[in-house]
């Protein structure tokens, strides 16, 4: 370990570790979070020892969590936050309360004194916001019900930390001189008012002034300044930076510069969160682990089990599906970054010994490492089993002579509505539990899960389907599903939604009967309306657009036959565009000739 490492040398090691480990882990299906953590372990003091200053890095990168919370806040305007009040204060408070109680009991059982047990329990009851949220985002579940419940719980933990942080010094040896109570509340209120007022009246002129300079980096600098400024301000009045910037985000969610802010802060959040995970990995003290492996492992398993069981139970209570309860339990069972803060606080206040504090830090850190691993195991082994159990539970018998619609978002729903209006039997596959519950109430045959899994398609009765319609949002998943079904069930015709021209060629090659670009028809319809606005008669506009459609689709088939040769494609595209212009304008000229017509 070199003490006099320069900033750039450090950055080089961090970035290299991330660039090597993260894509590798992602490719192996292990997830980016685990990649960062392992990269951190590899370069940290317990690994290759390439880098020092773990604590400083951890502290610095915790700012990534602050940015994360700010961005989440930006997504949630006050109205949306208000909608979450039940899960936040219901689920969240239940999770914290039950976890603290159960963990304290476990501590007492292990022979800790009451004060130590409750201190450790409080520290470990909190979960890791970045680990949970990043995992959700990676799996595209941030907007799902589990995502919202997880987030609500994490938010309550953030709130719960405030009184804990304030109480610990009060109970401790020396009562803090902090002027709490009414004055404190007043200061918080004043800061919130300041943010709202500033966001409404000050932000716009400042942004406009900066925009006028046309210097992008100043814009970015100001965005960061805004977040750091509000964060520090919030910290001053006794709210954690993360919670403070979250609130600031919520208050700025309706400002017109919201997207600007998001765009500017997003990359910093990503990098800093990555750094945070690396720092957590680095801070793992492997020597302590080697010293008492069984003890640490036992406590971690106990921690995960206790918190997990409580979360699973609360998930049942919240009406989650079985797989989602499991997901919730795994996502939030680990100890979090608050553990570090709380542990060091209770240690400095003299509640627990330094040795025990170090032990707890290792437990918290290692439990975070478990999350991506458990998620992976859940996805690979538990979920497929749970999936089939769910279907049996709801007694769904596969349709025959039916149309399967895979992906029931906005696209699939329109097709489904057409089919059901004609009383054509439809089976729906979707992975959003909210859709599912709704659809079941409307009497649809619905299968929950990933439509790209052959076993699920088979359970849904693909073998006896008249038709499979692939309306999945993700183009890659859709293509893979099409290939798989065409290989196993070549007799089932497939119609597919395509994102763009390139998709259509690939889908046809994969054996899809026909595919349509998802935006093509609607765009042409607007084009037709535009022609009417420009003075075309309605029928002429219709015919003109149909003609354009015809030419465009013909060109599409021709392009598909060219394969992937880029030069040929560009050549062809240029020629086709010119040809199209000539054809269309010749037709147009013919049409607009001042008439011999009668």
């Amino acid at each position: 370990m070199e003490a006099d490492q320069t900033f750039l040398e450090g950055a080089l090691i961090y970035l290299a570790a991330a660039v090597v480990a993260v894509p590798l882990f992602k490719r192996l299906g292990l997830g980016a979070v685990l990649g960062y953590l392992v990269a951190g372990m590899a370069i940290g003091p317990s690994g290759l020892g390439l880098i020092g200053g773990v604590d400083a890095t951890l502290q610095f990168s915790e700012f990534g969590v602050v940015l994360l919370m700010f961005l989440i806040g930006l997504e949630l305007n006050p109205a949306k936050l208000w909608q979450l009040r039940k899960p936040i204060f219901g689920l969240g408070s239940a999770q914290v309360l039950f976890s603290v109680l159960a963990l304290t009991a476990a501590g007492l059982f292990l022979g800790l004194s009451f004060v130590v047990a409750i201190a450790a329990a409080t520290a470990l009851a909190m979960s890791s916001t970045p680990i949970a949220l990043q995992s959700l985002e990676e799996k595209g579940l941030a907007g799902s019900t589990v995502g919202k419940l997880s987030f609500s719980t994490l938010l309550f933990q953030d709130i719960a930390v405030i009184p804990v942080l304030a109480l610990v010094p009060l109970i401790g040896m020396e009562a803090s001189s902090d002027a709490g109570g009414l004055l404190g509340a007043f200061r918080i209120l004043a800061v919130l008012v300041l943010i709202v007022a500033g966001g409404r009246y000050l932000l716009r002129p400042v942004f406009r002034f900066i925009a006028a300079t046309r210097l992008r980096e100043v814009f970015t600098a100001f965005s960061l300044l805004l977040v750091i400024g509000t964060g520090l301000l919030m910290q001053q009045v006794g709210i954690s930076m993360a919670l403070g910037t979250f609130l600031a985000g919520v208050l700025l969610a309706e400002s017109e510069y919201r997207h600007e802010l998001e765009l500017n802060i997003e990359p910093f959040k990503g990098l800093l969160l990555g750094l945070f995970f690396i720092a957590v990995g680095m801070s793992v003290d492997l020597s302590l682990l080697l010293e008492k492996p069984l003890q640490i492992f036992g406590v971690i398993v106990g921690l995960l089990l206790i918190k997990g069981v409580i979360l699973y139970g609360l998930g049942t209570f919240a009406g989650l599906l079985r797989q989602d309860r499991m997901l919730l339990a795994i996502l939030l069972a680990q100890g979090g970054e608050f553990a570090f803060v709380l542990i060091s606080l209770v240690q400095t206040e003299g509640f627990i010994s330094g040795e025990f504090a170090a032990f707890l830090v290792v437990v918290a850190t290692f439990s975070m490492l478990f999350t991506p691993v458990l998620l992976l195991l859940n996805e690979r082994f538990l979920q497929p089993m749970a999936g089939s159990a769910e279907e049996r539970e709801t007694d769904i018998v596969a349709n025959e002579n039916h149309v399967i619609v895979a992906g029931y978002g906005r696209f699939g729903q329109i097709i489904g509505r057409l089919m059901t209006s004609l009383r054509i039997p439809v089976t729906v596959i979707d992975h959003d539990p909210n859709h599912i519950e709704m659809l079941r109430k409307f009497g649809f045959k619905v299968f929950y899960g990933d439509a790209s899994r052959l076993d699920l398609l088979e359970a849904a009765g693909v073998a006896k389907a008249k038709l499979l319609i692939l309306a999945i949002d993700d183009a890659q998943t859709l293509l893979e599903t099409a290939e798989m079904v065409a290989r196993h069930y070549p007799d089932v015709p497939i119609l597919a939604r395509a994102k763009n021209r390139g998709d259509i060629g690939r889908l046809l090659e994969a054996g899809v009967k026909d595919a349509r670009r998802e935006l093509f028809s609607a765009s042409l319809e607007i084009g037709e309306l535009a022609l009417v606005e420009l003075g075309y008669s309605a029928h002429q506009a219709f015919k003109t657009v149909q003609k354009f459609r015809g030419y465009d689709e013909k060109a599409l088939v021709a392009v598909a036959s060219l394969g992937d040769d880029e030069k040929l494609l560009i050549d062809y595209a240029a020629r086709a565009r010119q040809q199209l212009e000539e054809l269309m304008s010749a037709d147009q000229e013919e049409l607009s000739k001042p008439g011999k017509d009668w």
């Binding site: 309605a538 008439g595 017509d597 009668w598």
Partner: protein, 176 residues
């Protein structure tokens, strides 16, 4: 409720010398409703219910169109096929059109002499219009004298004005 309903079928009225001023004149009359089929149904998909309602409340139904290929433009055939259904216009159904007056307003590019036994088109324009009249009769309507303009692409200005005035007069008369 307007007593005269004109079912107007022209695929490119903006290029039309005669039909555009005629239909504009008709629109200016309070008792006349114009249903511009190609504007209403650019993709030729006709709203049967709406058209039947319009026809039901009329006292006089007018078909106005330019002669294309010795008949009406395609959408007017589509209109007949989808609006004059058995439940609505004939058979044991509502017979909603019985006793309504029916008038054809047709314009041909060819001259009157070309539409004669010895001319290029071998028959009078009236004989080409017979299917429309028979359709009207079959639905129980009473065909009126048709309003025909020939050589309609090459009218002199004064002829055009005469025709517009004559058309207005006919529509005024039908409104009484």
């Amino acid at each position: 409720m307007k007593p005269v309903v004109i079912i107007f079928a022209h695929p490119s009225p903006k290029r039309s010398k005669l039909n555009l001023p005629l239909i504009d004149a008709a629109k200016s009359l309070d008792h006349v409703a114009v249903r511009d089929l190609y504007e209403l149904y650019p993709n030729l998909h006709i709203d049967t219910q709406m058209e039947q309602d319009a026809a039901r409340q009329a006292e006089t139904i007018v078909f106005q169109f330019p002669i294309h290929w010795f008949s009406a433009p395609a959408i007017l055939k589509e209109w007949q096929d989808s609006v004059l259904t058995s439940s609505f216009a004939y058979g044991n159904g509502e017979r909603a059109l019985v006793d309504k007056r029916f008038m054809l307003v047709a314009s041909s590019g060819g001259s009157a002499s070309s539409y004669s036994q010895k001319g290029r088109h071998g028959a009078s324009l009236a004989s080409y219009l017979a299917p429309f009249e028979q359709t009207a009769r079959f639905c129980g309507m009473k065909p009126q004298e048709n309003f025909i303009v020939q050589n309609a692409g090459d009218l002199a200005q004064y002829e055009l004005e005469q025709n517009i005035q004559a058309y207005k007069n006919r529509l005024m008369f039908l409104g009484k």
